[in-house]
Subunit: 324 residues, 2 copies
């Protein structure tokens, strides 16, 4: 891994990855369509002579293929990352996740690039029967178009590993927190409390239990897993890792912590129901023994990560004003 | 289920389903793009006033949506059913299976049709660790673009069940045999032996163990499962059934039986290797306890099915001449 292609390079996770790769001395080609990515996230990267930014769309296979030329590893982190609104625009997950991933794989094949790291999600487990959920849990039933599209991407990557001798690293993330966080429940709560500090509306009854991971722990796990690839090689050249912490947090406790950190005491309005929205999984908790087994356990607690996220938003209010 | 829409209506399985539905007194709208479907398979159906044939492509969503108007159940049996050649044209499984299925689901949503029966495949289990493989086997690793695309379709159907209150019946088929069989190893062997009866080339070393099911047993299982739906309702409105027999056959034994039935003694040439091709799963055997539990076990043996298939091809040599 010397010349690395990163899709979604201007996104929350992608831009942090770009910075880390540059720190490690890699040459990085960043690719983003800026539909949700932020130029400001690449402020430091663009000062580095080892970084090249190319603006483009994953649905444009010729441009993608051209941009990838000369690279030897692809991190495919571009995605429609919104799990909640799939049913509002059902084609979005298909196009931006499934078809986009197919194009990334085709561009790799055409460029003879054979190694890919992919950001999948714990959502592919649907309402898992085994919790904490291990990587080899039973065949899941999808509950969202987002989860369905990410599982489709995993399948495509696996088929390319078998058919074209690719080497794939699939990471099933819980919700990621930390600097450049720009989407999710903390973001929504923060915006609400800025508008009306005395009142907070919360989807569901607050009993949903969710898992979170700090972006720095996430990237440490991703890079460690790839570094130790030889020892860990699985059948079919595919390595799959759950990425999360050994804890989870109830939404009502998350709310308390956010309000404490902001020093606010809003009246809380729960919309009710075990699920926050259609397709919401009320309990997400991944078994992370596999990634811990290679020495890449998360170091930060969920509480630390939430506080760090709020601190970052407080210093970067511009993120609240962007259009997407 | 009174007015039934069948995609792939002119295919091997689809056309047999159309005939069965018409026998049951249903009104049927058949939809096919005739890329591999055969007009002759619908010879009887087209004489029935309850049958309407509409020629069209699943990638044409407006036409598909219009054709489906007024129907109350969709059997989505159109597919690129070729597991072997995925790596020759990687986009084909994506377009004809994944995107086509998305369009079928969208057409259903736009027409407020909420029930779907889907032909999936045992290939989604990849090289399963548990054999016979049950429906809730562990999260599989895909070994073909075909399997990956069918798993993607399953995920889409499941997400529509959750998001739009659809009711889905997913059937994971082994290889189907019987009248109108027009693709697969018996077909290939038959053609070879017609060309050169003294020699037969077989992919792999002959030790691959595969499962087969007769089309009539397949359709009996499909229709029984849907009929008994109320009693069997699973979580998320999704019902998944493996369809197969309680036996499997080694390729070398299949070869013997085919040669006996044709009264030929060719010299056998095995190309060697445990797999017949890249992505071939050397042992496919599904656990069919679930479908047997509702009284829809297969009645025909694999041997009966192979002989029946050869008899049908012998009486229908025109199928050997078609272009696809």
């Amino acid at each position: 891994m010397e010349r690395v292609f990163v899709t979604g390079a201007a996104g929350f996770i992608g831009s942090n990855l770009v910075d880390r790769l540059l720190e490690l001395g890699k040459t990085v080609v960043g690719w983003d369509d800026f539909s949700t990515g932020q130029k400001l996230f690449l402020e430091n990267a663009t000062k580095n002579p080892n970084f090249k930014l190319i603006e483009g769309d994953n649905l444009d296979l010729p441009a993608l293929t051209k941009a990838m030329r000369g690279c030897d590893f692809v991190f495919h982190f571009a995605a429609n990352a919104d799990v909640r609104f799939g049913i509002i625009h059902p084609h979005k997950d298909l196009q931006q996740n499934t078809i986009a991933t197919f194009n990334v794989l085709e561009a790799m094949r055409l460029n003879n690039v054979k190694q890919i790291g992919f950001s999948s999600t714990g959502s592919i487990y649907g309402e898992a029967k085994t919790i904490p959920t291990p990587e080899n849990a039973e065949c899941p039933i999808q509950t969202s178009l987002y989860g369905a599209s990410k599982l489709a991407c995993e399948g495509l990557i696996e088929a390319y590993c078998e058919g074209f001798e690719f080497e794939g690293y699939i990471f099933r993330f819980v919700s990621i927190l930390g600097p450049r966080y720009s989407h999710g429940h903390i973001f929504d709560f923060y915006k609400q409390l800025l508008d009306h500090p005395e009142h907070l509306k919360i989807l569901g009854d607050g009993t949903q239990r969710k898992s979170y991971l700090h972006i720095y722990d996430c990237l440490n796990a991703v890079l460690t897993a790839i570094e130790k690839r030889t020892a860990l090689q699985e059948r079919h050249r595919v390595s799959i890792f759950n990425l999360g912490t050994k804890e989870y947090l109830q939404v009502s406790d998350s709310v308390k912590l956010i309000c404490q950190t902001l020093n606010l005491k809003p009246e809380l309005e729960y919309t009710g129901g075990k699920k926050g929205w259609i397709g919401d999984n009320p309990f997400i908790f991944l078994d992370t023994a596999r990634i811990e087994g290679i020495g890449a356990a998360a170091k930060r607690t969920i509480r630390d990560s939430i506080v760090d996220t709020i601190n970052w938003i407080q210093k970067n209010h511009w993120i609240l004003e962007r259009n997407n």
